[in-house]
């Protein structure tokens, strides 16, 4: 074998009950490089990392670390072999000092009484100082910033002689200045001989820090190559796969009446987002993970932002869910099980929950009215259920989603926000839900679909708003001459000549 590879991965697969998360991937990671791993949600990259760090055991395949077979069954095994992880959730003890954290679990002691081990402490202090000279070893970790805590964790990994450091979206909770510092740290780590596996959704970070890249899609390794000479749009094309443009039907009832205007919406993540939504229109928001789709949804549904939002021409603050509902917006949330359904209740009890007014009289719930509503929506949305008492958690994903949509429709809102409306539903149900969305638009409702599936936006939406790094880059009109290459360039953050 070639000594330049620190990790050689051969046919590594992982099957969970009912789903194959990783379909036998093979690639090499070169020693002393920054190796990026990218892929959309569900591509298999986190499964791979969990196998590498001993969280999951692989179902098949071989890994060699430094020429030796490597099969960690616990996180400790991986750490002992020299693979450490910088998790998004920081694993430091706030109540201890930096020195206390750095020696935690490795203290020299006699009969449980700790001994001052100056050798370890000096080594740790030296490593810490190489990253940040301003923090002393006696500082309480609870008083540090997130970035400083990361430095403490990196120092700890280096103290235990880690050869490979996995960084899992390390900049997710950092400010811009702190991000810069982290990149300096990455450079310094590389200079000191550490191999870094860098996972990020932000293409800028990948191109700035990475030497090599592995692209995952649908549980498969698509390509491993040098980042040099790689075009962003090619990268995105490999991440997303082939997109077939067909069956788009323009919504029939688009009117020139504006239902919603957003002007210069700005938050921590969003920068000057402006768009209009017409009555009877389906508007899609598309971008890679972390581009800011979710944040756009949030500012329309309970999160404050700077800028202006007008609903039907009237300036409105939507910083509270109740205000959004009152202004005529309703949300079909992304996390169906956590935020959409009341799983232990039946369909009958779920449907009126966003608008109890039409089943209530004199403060009591009228069963007959609930029954009528449930029957109506089971029929209108063809919800496949035993009867209206069917416990919602026992329905299939697609039918659960229909219950959530029914819940919103009963609210009779004019603007319906749909965050990942077909995630986790089967192909047939997906088509049905798309039909429901089109029908709603036909009735004059305005709909915003937030999705991370390019296929879904080009199939469903009249206009597509393309997000990159918290900014809305362009809104493109859907139609027969839609250019998916252009879309990929925009969501990849490439410059487009006007």
């Amino acid at each position: 074998m070639d000594g330049s590879n620190i990790l050689e991965i051969r046919d590594v697969g992982k099957a969970f009950p009912g789903v194959v998360a990783l379909k036998g991937v093979s690639f090499d990671i070169k020693r002393n490089t920054v190796h990026c791993i990218v892929g959309e949600n569900g591509a298999g990259k986190s499964t791979f990392i969990k196998i590498l760090t001993g969280v999951h055991e692989r179902s098949s395949g071989e890994i060699t670390l430094d020429g030796k077979p490597f099969a960690p069954t616990r996180v400790r095994d991986a750490m002992a072999a020299g693979i450490s992880v910088l998790y998004q959730e920081l694993n430091v003890v706030d109540e201890l000092t930096i020195a206390g954290n750095l020696t935690l679990g490795q203290e020299a002691h006699s009969f449980g009484f700790p001994k001052q081990d100056t050798a370890i402490l000096e080594k740790a202090a030296g490593i810490l100082a190489s990253f940040d000279e301003s923090i002393s070893m006696d500082t309480l970790v609870g008083s540090l910033s997130v970035a400083q805590k990361q430095v403490v964790e990196i120092t700890k990994a280096l103290c235990s002689d880690c050869a490979v450091l996995v960084m899992d979206e390390p900049t997710a909770s950092l400010s811009l200045g702190e991000t810069r510092k982290l990149f300096d740290t990455v450079a310094r780590l590389k200079a000191s001989g550490v191999t870094i596996i860098f996972i990020s959704h932000k293409l800028d970070e990948i191109f700035e820090n990475g030497d090599y890249i592995t692209i995952f899609r649908d549980g498969e390794m698509i390509e491993t190559r040098s980042l040099e000479g790689l075009e962003r749009s090619d990268l995105v094309r490999m991440m997303l796969g082939k997109v077939v443009v067909n069956d788009y039907v323009p919504s029939p009832a688009i009117q020139t009446e504006t239902a919603l205007e957003v002007r210069n919406a700005t938050t921590r993540k969003l920068r000057n987002v402006s768009f209009d939504l017409q009555k009877g229109e389906i508007l899609g928001f598309y971008g890679l993970v972390g581009a800011g789709k979710t944040e756009v949804c949030e500012i329309l549904y309970g999160h404050p932002c700077a800028g202006e939002i007008r609903v039907k021409g009237k300036a409105t603050r939507l910083d509270d869910v109740r205000k959004s509902l009152k202004a005529g917006l309703a949300l079909v949330p992304e996390e169906r099980r956590e935020a959409g359904i009341f799983g232990l209740l039946g369909i009958r009890q779920n449907i009126p929950l966003m608008n109890m007014a039409n089943v209530k009289s004199h403060g009591l719930v009228r069963r007959a009215e609930e029954n009528r509503l449930a029957d109506h929506y089971i029929d209108a949305l063809s919800i496949a259920a035993r009867d209206r008492e069917h416990q919602v958690s026992l329905l299939s994903g697609g039918n659960q989603q229909k219950v959530v949509i029914a819940k919103c429709l009963n609210r009779d809102s004019d603007i319906i926000l749909m965050d990942e409306p077909t995630r986790g539903v089967d192909v047939g149900a997906k088509q049905e839900i798309h039909d429901i969305i089109r029908e709603l638009a036909g009735q004059g409702k305005s709909i915003i679909v937030f999705t991370s599936e390019l296929q879904e936006v080009v199939q469903l939406c009249d206009r597509i708003a393309l997000m990159y790094d918290g900014a809305l880059r362009q809104i493109v009109q859907n139609g027969p001459d839609l250019d998916t290459d252009h879309i990929m360039k925009l969501v990849a953050g490439e410059e487009i000549e006007a």
């Binding site: 996180v75 700790p114 997130v146 811009l176 921590r268 920068r271």
Partner: protein, 340 residues
Amino acid sequence: MKQANTLPGFMKSQTFILFLVFIALNIFFALMSDHFFQLGNYFNMLKQSSALLLTAAAATMLMMTGNFDLSASANLAFSGVLYALLAAAGLPLLLAALITLAAGMGFGLINGLLVTRWEISPFIATLGMMFIGNGLALVVCGGQSVRSGLPDNFRNLMNAELLGLPVPILIALVGCTLFWVLTNRTLIGKYAMAIGSNRNAAVLSGINVNAITLGLFVAVALMASLSGIMTASRIGAGDPRIYEFFFMDVVVAIMLGGTPLSGGRGSIIGTLIAAMIVIVIGNGLSMLNVLIFWQTIIKGVILIVAMILNEKVKFGSRVVATTPPADRSVANQATSVAAQ
């Protein structure tokens, strides 16, 4: 940098405030009653509370890991009855005590295994053991206090003196010192704190979290069992219904002493001073002929006040830990927006 010293400073001062309260209460009762401020009364208070001090010291360490043992009261009752039964059966007292401690330790092993191996919440696990222990205490003695057939020396443990000090006070002194050293001078104390503060970090640092948690459950059970033996010796009987609110007193002491239910930090000294405050209030109010019922109400008020104090400390540390970076990044974001 300045913030780094806020938290321990506050905690130290919390213990210090407790100490001031303790002194103030002593002065108050000394002024109100002629019988309060006397060596005999203090010895009496300490003798009565030696069991509480011992168990509270051990339970403070357990609480630092974020765990607690509701079954301590049941363990105390069961151990008292078992010890009396064995003594009445003619076993030498030392042997009877050792067998009782072994049985009491069983509570800790079961609690610890339920929590660590089967991952049952400490509330459920130790609540279950509380019922089992209470039931066992009644079953082994048929529901009757064990009074007859006890050897003459049964009460000696609590009434003997050594070096001019009552033995139970010496036992409490030795036990509490031991737990203070464990907490503040050994790695077990550091690890207990780390487990309560960030369990995942402790696991990833290679700390045997389960072994330490299990060990501390056993330590609390041993102290509760010893408390049962001491209480039986003090009242000269094994009473299955004794001291039902024992664990509640332990919790009041720990909470008031500055150790939160969620763990992560803790102070043995704080617990001990808090326990003494509760004891002094009880004793002092009795001297002033305040009905025992009122004392119960006062205990409840003290517990709630302690909780509010603890919440304030926690809230304060959270603000220190999270606000500055968030603020800065918002500011950075704003400047980057402005720059465009």
